[in-house]
Amino acid sequence: MRALADIGARSAQRFLWPAVTVAAVLLAVHGLDAHKAITSKYTYNEHIFPILRDKCGRCHVDGGPAPMSLMTYKDKGGAVAWAESMREMLVSEAMPPWYVDPTGPTVRNSHTLSARDLDVLVTWASGGTPQGDLNKKLAAVSAETRWTLGAPDLALPMTGTHTLPASTMEETFNLTLPTNLSETRWVKAADLLPGTSSMVRRAVIGVENGPVLAVWEPGDDTTPAPGGTAFRLPAGAKLHLQIHYKKSWQDEQQERSDKSTVGLYFTDEPLSGKEIQAFAVDGPKGEAHTGPLTFGGSLTTGGRVLALRTSLNQPYASVDVQAVTASGKRVPLLKLRAARPEWPRRYWLADPIELPAGTKIEVTATPGDRDSGPLAAPANSPLQVALDIVPQ
């Protein structure tokens, strides 16, 4: 056997290979693929595609918000090329980006992966990525951009396109959108329709000097405020739109433009006449944290907590938000695990929680492994937890 054992014996001659030998024939190589060491009993066509389509397909589709399409086996990128990435992301639980710990309060519109689905995907990704029955034709999946709640009551397109020049990979862009409303309206939901999906990474839609209407992430179902609750939008109000743009790695060195549209969904004025208000507690600023930290504040007025919003400055192994009432009773509000800063969100509680005035809000955050971050962390993201409350 001619093993490749001897480094010293190499001569450079081989690299002066005559052009005639290479140009000699056109060789079609079959068979290499056919003999991969396959240890996965799950195949793409039978087991993997349905999970990916249902759980990942809104973003990981050709032309979709995520720059890696998993909706094909090999064509146009394809799941095989991203198998090792999938394994890494799934095992570290960075993907799917939904970090609610199910041992805490239940949150609406959860999108998690079951242990079984996760195991099937990782088994396939690390077990030779077999395709399976080639005669089984898979339904094509294409990217779609749509309003998840149907056409909005008021659509406010950006006033102009925003362009990321060839040299810029990502940028946070702030703009003001006049609503031109002549009377007060009540908003149950706000959504964003990206103009160019592949570059709109996240957005925050707020009322200028008012509440945050939506924390938008690609792939989410827009969740409206529970019945009988709403955000107040005064006559003549302006919206503040913050969009974080990030070009796909394949669009590096290319100019890309976007013109997104904000959609507002109106509802009746709540019977109480009271609007959803925010109460925020800020974490310590400065250097990245290594040990567990606790921070909080006290509610000056009591109310019903509908949702929590988190903004993280680094990965956290866990984030635990609790209310501590005057009597010392602890009420869990939100629990996150393996949470990553790239995905600030609003979490709507399945069951809103009443809290009296004077209740302390206590956040305990345990930093995660910063070095292992498989995703690129956003710059200048502060550590903050905000409660969306209807006051008493």
Binding site: M1, V29, H30, E88, E252
Partner: protein, 446 residues
């Protein structure tokens, strides 16, 4: 004639061959046509990935006809091998340092992603062929010198630690094909650990005569020896830690006659044939391919070239190309049908299997720990089918704990290849904590 892959790669890296895939089809085609990596001939069997010849012929190991490929050296994101670059730098997706990768480069036409052409050019419809890269599978991770075999976290350097006689610790180095490489520019130390993994002594590693191994003279070391090697592959690079446990002195295996591994029938990855170690892990981690940013050509009949050289072309893929070859030990670890049905018995089995993980971690058998880890998650998944009987709150908690157990098992599987005891120990602790949570949840429901 012998070849050295490393020398080959160094030269490849020095001369820019094909343009990076992200630069667009025109430059790709132009650059690729100027210079192509030379043809190499490899064995179609993944287990024989180390066979690389510069002439056609038959595989010396399995006797099948060698198939031609072009090998190139590129840079890639450590966890996103789909991203391929010509030069070192940072990953556009996660900003980690790019790592060196050996790739097979080929071209395809639209609609025929499996037809790998070895030349650029035009497809039948006039569209340019699309350049593609496929990382070569890692070589087998079986020890070659009776020691313990690990892969560095850069996925490229591989190494084997041996303790051939009292006082001598030796490391052999390999590339991602498991070809021996020179230890040139490497530096490091070997530290001796006590039973609690505390460092008790440290000795320098020096490049040994011949240049392909590093050796450390360990004083006062009795068997069993626990030691950790801390190695830098580049002066300014990161330090890699590898944990070894030697229960006995390493013995060079006798040379294996080709006949014992030959034949298409022996498809099961080479296992304990060469050493006294338990089954080696099947290696298929690099079986990924990357595509270009070039627009996909429309469906067209690509010019089907003549079959590879004499000696018999490999058969065209059958309708179902992939034949699952699960080694028996793994198949048994993954078999849920043989498990007991009751929750109590499943919990007991879960504990038993996780204790196997624990004892292997404790004794430092890092290369073997993946198997009981897989067996443990199999039980956890079976247990999850009983979660429906729990009250809603407990059900969510139990399923979350099963998921933690499954991810921890897969972490152990990945870290086992790297030989980092601390990481495996941490992952084992996550596994144990998930199992302990499962016991509490199910005990409370009875």
């Amino acid at each position: 004639m012998r070849q050295s892959l490393t020398g080959f790669l160094v030269l490849l890296a020095a001369s820019a061959f094909a343009a990076p895939l992200v630069q667009g089809p025109k430059q790709n085609a132009a650059a690729a046509q100027q210079k192509l990596p030379p043809l190499s001939y490899v064995c179609p069997m993944i287990q024989d990935a180390e066979v690389i010849e510069d002439k056609p012929g038959n595989c010396p190991k399995c006797k099948m006809a060698l198939v031609p490929i072009r090998l190139d050296s590129k840079y890639s994101c450590p966890v996103h091998p789909a991203v391929i670059r010509d030069t070192p730098g940072t990953c556009p997706l996660d900003k980690r340092e790019l790592v060196r990768l050996t790739l097979s480069v080929f071209w395809t036409c639209g609609g025929e992603p499996d037809k790998q052409l070895l030349e650029p050019g035009k497809c039948a419809d006039g569209q340019p062929r699309k350049v593609q890269y496929e990382p070569r599978p890692h070589g087998d991770h079986n020890p070659k010198h009776g020691g313990q075999f690990f892969m560095a976290s850069d996925n490229w350097h591989h190494l084997e630690g041996t303790y051939p006689r009292v006082g001598l610790f030796r490391m052999h180095f390999y590339d991602d094909y498991t070809k021996p490489i020179a230890a040139k520019g490497f530096s490091g130390t070997v530290v001796v650990l006590d039973a609690n993994d505390k460092e008790v002594a440290s000795f320098p590693l020096a490049i040994a005569r011949g240049g392909r191994t590093m050796e450390g003279q360990i004083k006062d070391a009795a068997l069993p020896l626990k030691a950790a090697a801390k190695v830098k592959f580049e002066q300014t690079g990161p330090e890699n830690r590898f944990d070894f446990t030697f229960a006995e002195y390493s013995k060079e295996p006798p040379p294996v006659p080709a006949a014992t591994t030959a034949g298409a029938a022996t498809r099961v990855p080479a296992t304990a044939a060469q050493s006294a170690t338990p089954p080696a892990k099947p290696s298929a981690s690099a079986a990924t391919s990357a595509t270009t940013a070039a627009p996909a050509a429309t469906d067209a009949q690509a010019p089907a070239g003549p079959a590879p050289q004499a000696g018999g072309a490999p058969a065209a893929p059958s309708p179902s190309t992939d034949v699952s070859q699960v080694p028996a030990a793994l198949a048994s670890a993954l078999d849920e049908s043989a498990l007991p049905n009751s929750v109590a018995e499943l919990l007991a089995e879960l504990t038993r299997r996780s204790q196997e993980v624990e004892s292997l971690v404790k004794e430092g058998s890092l290369g073997q720990v993946w198997l009981p880890a897989m067996a443990t998650k199999t039980v956890a998944l079976a247990l999850d089918t009983h979660a429906g009987a729990l009250p809603e709150r407990q059900r969510a908690m139990a399923s979350a704990a099963v998921k933690r157990a499954v991810t921890a098992a897969w972490e152990i599987d990945a870290y086992g290849d790297l030989g980092n005891k601390q990481k495996i120990t941490d992952a084992y602790e996550r596994l144990a904590s998930a199992i302990s949570a499962l016991k509490t949840i199910y005990a409370g429901s009875r």
